[in-house]
């Protein structure tokens, strides 16, 4: 496991558990990268628990690359008003991957902001599951939350299961959610081919476009991680 200064980047080779407790107005960015497990048959469990006091800002990005069996659990609780959490994830998974993500945003106090943005590119026999939860307590008015899951299936045996779950007891909140699962758009592939891109180059460019939303959000100092991701798109 490698930990560096801001942004905190964790290369998760084994299971890990990480607690982030942010005091009022504190800011933190955490990037977790998990890559092929190799011969290890033990499921990898990545667990991140965040607690945010008033005005705190937490940014988390989880990147999963290759063949992975395991779970990613992210559980964030808002304890003070005007706190913000941006959680994003990118999975480029293949082989016999079975990756399960369970992400939860607990809006216990008013006026907090949460975003969950995930993209999946799934090939071979890989399976990903994502339960994305947003829980808004009765007095947590003016909560602003959104979650989006977009998945591309690159092989007939690839599977994606996505379950956005909203549990809302307040009546003045924003809680958007959206999910899409599809394949590379054949008309877009043809469009690029008609501009002289080979079939392979066309598909790669479309994938680059697909993952760019997540990569563009990565903080400065993550060039190596971006490179790691782009190399996986071949």
């Amino acid at each position: 496991m490698m930990v560096s200064s801001l942004p905190r980047v964790i290369q998760a080779t084994d299971s890990l558990s990480h607690d982030v407790d942010l005091a009022a107005n504190e800011k933190s960015t955490l990037v977790v990268v998990q890559e092929d497990q190799g011969t290890s048959e033990t499921p990898q469990i990545v667990s991140i628990v965040g607690s945010l006091h008033a005005g705190a800002e937490l940014t988390i990005c989880v990147i999963s690359l290759g063949e992975i069996v395991g779970s990613v659990l992210v559980d964030v609780t808002f304890l003070g008003e005007e706190a913000r959490c941006e959680l994003s994830g990118l999975s480029l998974v293949s082989g016999k991957t079975h990756l399960k993500l369970i992400t939860s945003m607990h809006h216990d106090v008013p006026s907090c902001f949460s975003r969950q943005t995930f993209k999946y590119v799934v090939s071979d026999h890989a399976l990903t599951e994502h339960e994305g939860k947003v829980h808004v307590k009765q007095h947590a008015q003016l909560t602003d939350s959104a979650q989006s899951n977009q998945s591309l299936l690159l092989s007939p045996d690839a599977r994606v299961i996505t379950r956005p779950q909203l549990e809302i007891y307040a009546d003045d909140v924003k809680a958007a959610h959206g999910a899409s699962i599809g394949q590379l758009d054949s008309e877009a592939v043809f469009y690029l081919q008609s501009r002289g891109f080979s079939l392979e180059a066309a598909k790669r460019l479309l994938l680059e476009g697909f993952v760019s939303e997540i990569l563009d959000q990565l903080p400065e100092g993550c060039d190596e991680i971006k490179q790691q991701v782009l190399e996986r798109l071949v």
């Binding site: 877009a188 469009y191 081919q193 002289g196 079939l199 680059e208 476009g209």
Partner: protein, 244 residues
Amino acid sequence: MLSIKNLYVRVDGSDILKDFSLVIGSGEVHAIMGPNGAGKSTLAKALSGHPDYEIVSGEVNLDGQDLLALDAAERAQLGLFMSFQYPVEIPGVNNASFLRMAYNAKRKVAGQAEVDPMEFEVILQKKLELLKIDESFLERAVNHGFSGGEKKRNEILQMAILDPKLAILDETDSGLDIDSLRIVAEAVNALRDSQNSFLLITHYQRLLNYIKPDFVHVMVDGRIVQTGPAELALVLEEKGYDGF
């Protein structure tokens, strides 16, 4: 330049092009007009190599090369360009980078050195000026969130960058307001020279007010039924396609 002989094309099990033949010489502009369902867009898609368009029989040569033996990318690299009736949005892919990659792909095949972003910027600026296109086009993702008119102008920008031998404009005029139509037409006129050719596919005569074709063909039921000079378009505008 382009020679199409006895082309039959099938889509979803239906024969759409039936014994279609056409010859386009260097420097010529041809317009194909015809009613809905005549097979005009099928012709454009089949020529550009769309995999859903099955070539049943026939021959197509571009500059002496068998076009039908090539895939869509190879046809483009050879110098064929189609302006799409409905250009596809490519989110997350920067328009300027996309143009540079397409430009370099073509150069690579031609055995020329690729240009770097700085060199390409110079080429791009000239084309933007020529086509009166705003620089903000370059910073956006390819066609993403573009209006209908912007998409068509982006097609013309791609055409200008790729400098094709033969450009097929598939209903480039449809969905354009009169000002956008004029801008697109002026761009085509600016790009026209003795070495390239254009095939304009359109329903309406109005595009031909701005781009004067050398020949107008009437297409009905998968083949050309009449060919005439530019003035034929005016006759069609007046009398419609009922007589064919």
